[in-house]
Amino acid sequence: MILSPVNTSFRSPAADRALFRALAFSAGAVAAILALILLYLTLASASLLFVDAGLWQLRWQPSAGAYGLVAMLVGSVAVSLLALLIAVPPGLVLAVWGRFFAPPWVGGLYRGAMGLLASIPSVVYGFWGLVVLVPLLNRWAPPGASLLAAALVLALMILPILVLQADLALDEARRRHLAAAMALGASVSGTVRRVLLPTAAPQLVPAVLLQLGRALGETMAVLMVAGNVVQLPDAITAPIRTLTANIALEMAYASGEHQTALFASGWLLFVLVTLIMLGARAVARRAGEGRVDAH
């Protein structure tokens, strides 16, 4: 039998049973929050979701009664994936560097800086994008406010937490394997590449997923730099609108069916995130089974 936290047997007095109940309650509460949100969103968008209201078309023109969400769905996915593509490679490099190559105090300082950047409000990032990045891009490819601008700002926003979480996963892997690998005479870079990154991968995947979720859900920053035109992007420099930006832009001024359609945007996003998470978990599980378990 493999040793794992769960099947280490402890003496089990009353305190443990109380502890177990408390813990089960917390886990139940998390599940309940999720269920409540799903219920709320579904109820709020039900009147459009379960009839053929044309949500699956391109045209979004609330004043004309057209509530197509497809273009914004594409926008959301495109922006988030591009942001991940931009942020993940440097994120990993930074985590590895901070843990294994930088002098300890520099690494610590670097992680501190990342924690700090993570708490800059998205408005500030968005504002910077609006006054610095968009005019810059505009010189190269008008109107500047675009898929690319949004992805860049998003990448900048998700990078800090990505670095911190990758760092945590690498640190654990390091504790387990670095000494052994170094004793065998391997170089640090070789060890990182061949031992530590593969070991940390199962934890890196959820960390990246969490950031994908965050990118999909980011509102204020994207709203300021994406251009918000409802269309399928024909270029990386074309303006697009995401589902979240759509909610934030129009919710305050919507009523009736228009409002319901905005709730449906939220519902769609929710389903999208669920699907992505399910798929990615399946991939991660297969990858986890494929590699030799080092525990």
Binding site: R21, Q61, S63, G144, L249
Partner: protein, 282 residues
Amino acid sequence: MLLRGICDGLKRAPRLAGAIAMAALILSGCSRDAGDRLVITGSSTIAPLVTVIAQAFESAHPGVKIDVQAGGSSRGIADVRQGLAELGMVSRALKPEEGDLAAATIAQDGIAMIVHRDNPVGALTGGQIVAIYTGKVRNWQEVGGPDAPITVVNKAEGRSTLELFLSHFKLDTPAIRADVVIGDNQQGIKTVAGNPQAIGYVSVGTAEFEARRGTPIRLLPLDGVEASTAHVARGDFPLSRPLNLVHRGEPGRVAREFLAFAASPEVHDLVTGQYFVPLAGR
């Protein structure tokens, strides 16, 4: 064993949540009884103005507390209808289907076309603006400017500035070809200030203030009338809107006093301080 634990936990959850909710209700009940409280929700454009008016009102009426919440004109209307707020802030005239509400105007606001300061185009006719916004004219050269593509900045659907703009130029949303769609005024100003080829429209007072303090934007005259708060005040600027406080039925004592205060000449400085146009100015 595991499942039973979760079931136990879940069985307890509603009871616990109920207890928390009850406690919350009781406590919130207590705190709400203290003093007179007036809740005003609605348009984020008006919210800063009403906030400063409310501050002045609070200091003149000790014990009264006014909570101003921003969230859009339609939120203001919905909250007043549901009784969640006594007054709603609405940055446009009421529509026919909103006849159940009464509006009190507290200030005026105009909408100005703006371009980048470096744009040599001095004025555009109504027809030219329509052609630009419908995508028939796509280069500044066609309206007497440099050879550069036009970046059309439009407001998001439902915003009252958009509705006003559309009805003035007799345009329809589906006909508009925008390159950038924006939300708040400041976003419009920052977008145009950062893009020499852009054209957009924002609140006159804000644009006037920004242009004066050096932001690289320029206000275009409309139908030959200079875009300025002075013209909005005089009433001859063609694109203007009322900023309203709406209520349903007979307002309460505090609300009535507040409405009277917000419409009185006492608040003129506060209104101009937020770059809107006070009422009796015309």
